[in-house]
């Protein structure tokens, strides 16, 4: 996790909020550093994490996680982390008998119906254990990422339904959190992706948007991060708050600064 990002979001692993949906989106840049941040953040916060990783392999996340101070192997062994490696298990779908439901069952169907098997997998992974095992803080679902599901033929409404059910179970029933990444196609006219992104934005409590700079690539400023807090607690009636920062990704950390205040520029 990146301490500077924690400071901007005004949160620490000890005081993590519960019952929230956080939406990460990136436009013209790679927002996966946010996924690594939240993965290590919730592992350090002693939460039970279900990670649906459809983009990279387990070893990739493990290597980055070790730079940030968490070991995914250890977390998986002691039951804190449930890892669905999409790249590997997608092949298993075709070598299994059709009666056994597989989380990525939709890959096998001609007309992709819904993501109910995936939801059942998530619910099974995060349901509170019966025995008196180590009590984890709260369940967390992490998805990297949802846009690839659209590329695999799932409709935007089906993905929204999947997140809807996850929200009902993980956020409302189990008082846990959901963090998910969606790519913003930007100029490319992708209506399905826009419906998915806007639909999720309306449901989110926190939106972190990583954008490339409008002027192009830069060695010292890698992009801009917009933070939007939505749906504040009703008691305070605080107006939705929005902040913008620029960032630079280094080997083991990310540094944030106000717009135009990069140390390289001053």
């Amino acid at each position: 996790m990146f301490p500077e990002l924690n400071h901007l979001l005004n949160t620490t692993p000890d005081r993590a909020e519960q019952g929230k949906l956080t939406l990460l989106c990136d436009a013209k840049t790679d927002g996966s550093f946010l996924v690594h941040h939240f993965l290590s953040f919730y592992l350090k916060a002693n939460c039970k994490v279900c990670f649906v990783a459809l983009i990279q392999s387990f070893s990739h996340y493990n290597i980055v996680g070790q730079k940030l101070g968490v070991s995914l192997t250890t977390a998986r062994e002691r039951g804190q982390l449930v890892f669905l490696e999409g790249l590997k298990s997608s092949v298993d779908v075709f070598f299994r008998s059709q009666e056994e439901p597989h989380p990525l069952q939709f890959l096998r169907e001609a007309n992709t119906g819904n993501l109910q098997p995936l939801f059942e997998f998530v619910r099974e992974a995060l349901k509170p254990g019966d025995n008196a095992e180590a009590a984890w803080r709260c369940p967390v679902l992490l998805v990297d990422d949802l846009s690839v599901l659209l590329s695999l033929g799932v409709g935007a409404v089906a993905v929204l339904d999947f997140i809807h059910y996850c929200r009902a179970t993980v956020c409302c029933e189990l008082k846990g959190n959901i963090v998910t990444l969606v790519h913003d196609s930007g100029d490319a006219e992708d209506e399905e992706n826009d419906v998915l992104l806007n639909g999720l934005s309306h449901q989110s409590h926190l939106i972190l948007r990583a954008e490339g700079l409008a002027t192009g690539f830069c060695r010292d400023v890698h992009g801009q991060l917009r933070i939007l807090w939505r749906r504040p607690s009703q008691l305070t009636a605080q107006r939705d708050r929005s902040l913008t920062y620029q960032y630079k990704i280094q080997d083991k950390s990310v540094s944030f600064f106000a717009k135009g205040m990069s140390p390289a520029v001053l």
Binding site: N114, Q116, F119, V157, L160, D161, H164, Y165, A168, C172, D194, V195, N198, G199, S201, H202, Q203, I207, L228, R230, R231, Q234, L235, T236, A237, R239, D240, L243, A258, M261, L266
Partner: protein, 330 residues
């Protein structure tokens, strides 16, 4: 002269106030009441930046305060979250039809509403008690994504015109239908279709942290009228109307980012010392027209002798002494 005092949540109906306060109370009554005065569909169009659920809840609170029973078809938030912020009087008049927990019957436990979303919507068309009723749809976007647009429009039409069903001897009170629509999720076709069904359409936007509602009224047999109202919603879901857009002069210093002086940590010097300032001020610029320069120009000094042209021809230069313009017949 009477002293103005501040409006408190629900007490605005019974105050004996000064002019400005009474005008504010009237305007609040005007906005919510005029939206609820017409029967039929009130469409609330919101966006990611300017959300509309708070205004929906403010309208629901107003209806409940007027004694109506409110039925909510909740698809997007849980019942607990929706009821949050309402007092017990309002909550007792709310009936929450839960389409949030299991709308598509995935759990197969039988707890979900039978016949799915469409069945639940149609069930609201069949009313048993003749009293005034408000139906809130949270949200129409969810219904539009899961039902065909034509079916939804037909059901909405039936829902908002229940008072005109034949064979009903007792006169029925008009039904208020409040629908929340997320504009960005749908194309212009479905949005236009829903908008044509609506008696009043509220589009939410804002500027500089202040929300505004652009209201379009379509009263029967009258021309459509527009109204723009700036407002904010208080924690107890009562409305606080503002006079106009926020003034540009209200600049709140953001406490999160302290003003940074960029000249503090530089590798070069941006400041001038006293001697350097004096030297800079006493410098005459080369093209400044001073009196000495004027005298120099007026005196025809021996300047011709000083200006001569020295020409060294190159190897490939063609020196032709003839005047090239000789053959011109000018």
């Amino acid at each position: 002269m009477p002293r103005p005092f501040h409006l408190e949540g629900a007490e605005q109906l019974s105050v004996t106030p000064s002019e400005s306060v009474r005008r504010g109370a009237e305007r609040e009554l005007e906005m919510l009441e005029s939206l609820l005065a017409l029967g039929g569909l009130v469409l609330l169009r919101d966006s990611v930046e300017w959300e509309g659920r708070s205004l929906l809840k403010a309208l629901i609170k107003k209806s409940a305060a007027c004694g109506e029973q409110v039925h909510i078809l909740g698809c997007e938030v849980s019942e607990e979250e929706f009821r949050e912020g309402f007092d017990s009087h309002v909550n007792s008049r709310l009936v929450y039809h839960d389409l949030f927990r299991d709308p598509l019957n995935w759990s197969k436990t039988g707890e979900a509403l039978p016949e799915g979303p469409l069945g639940a919507l149609r069930a609201m068309c069949r009313r048993t008690n003749p009293g005034p009723v408000t139906i809130a749809l949270d949200s129409l976007s969810w219904l539009l994504l899961h039902l065909p647009c034509t079916t939804l429009c037909q059901t909405l039409h039936a829902l908002s015109h229940q008072d005109s069903c034949p064979g009903n001897s007792t006169p029925v009170e008009p039904v208020h239908v409040l629908g929340l629509l997320h504009e960005e999720l749908h194309g212009p076709g479905p949005v236009g279709a829903l908008s044509s069904l609506a008696q009043a359409e509220v589009t939410l936007s804002g500027a500089m942290g202040q929300a505004s509602a652009h209201i379009l009224y379509r009263r029967p047999r009258q021309r459509p009228t527009h109204q723009t109202q700036w407002f904010s919603i208080l924690p107890d879901f009562s409305l606080d109307l503002q006079r106009g857009p926020p003034l540009e002069l209200q600049r709140h210093p953001d406490p999160h980012t302290p003003p940074v002086d960029p000249t503090t940590q530089l590798t070069f010097n941006l400041h001038l010392s006293k001697e350097e300032k004096e030297a800079k001020d006493s410098l005459t610029l080369p093209f400044q027209f001073s009196s000495e320069k004027q005298q120099a120009l007026l005196r025809p000094g021996p300047s011709q002798a000083t200006s001569r042209i020295f020409y060294e021809p190159d190897a490939y230069d063609d020196l032709d002494q003839e005047d090239p313009d000789d053959d011109l017949d000018v």
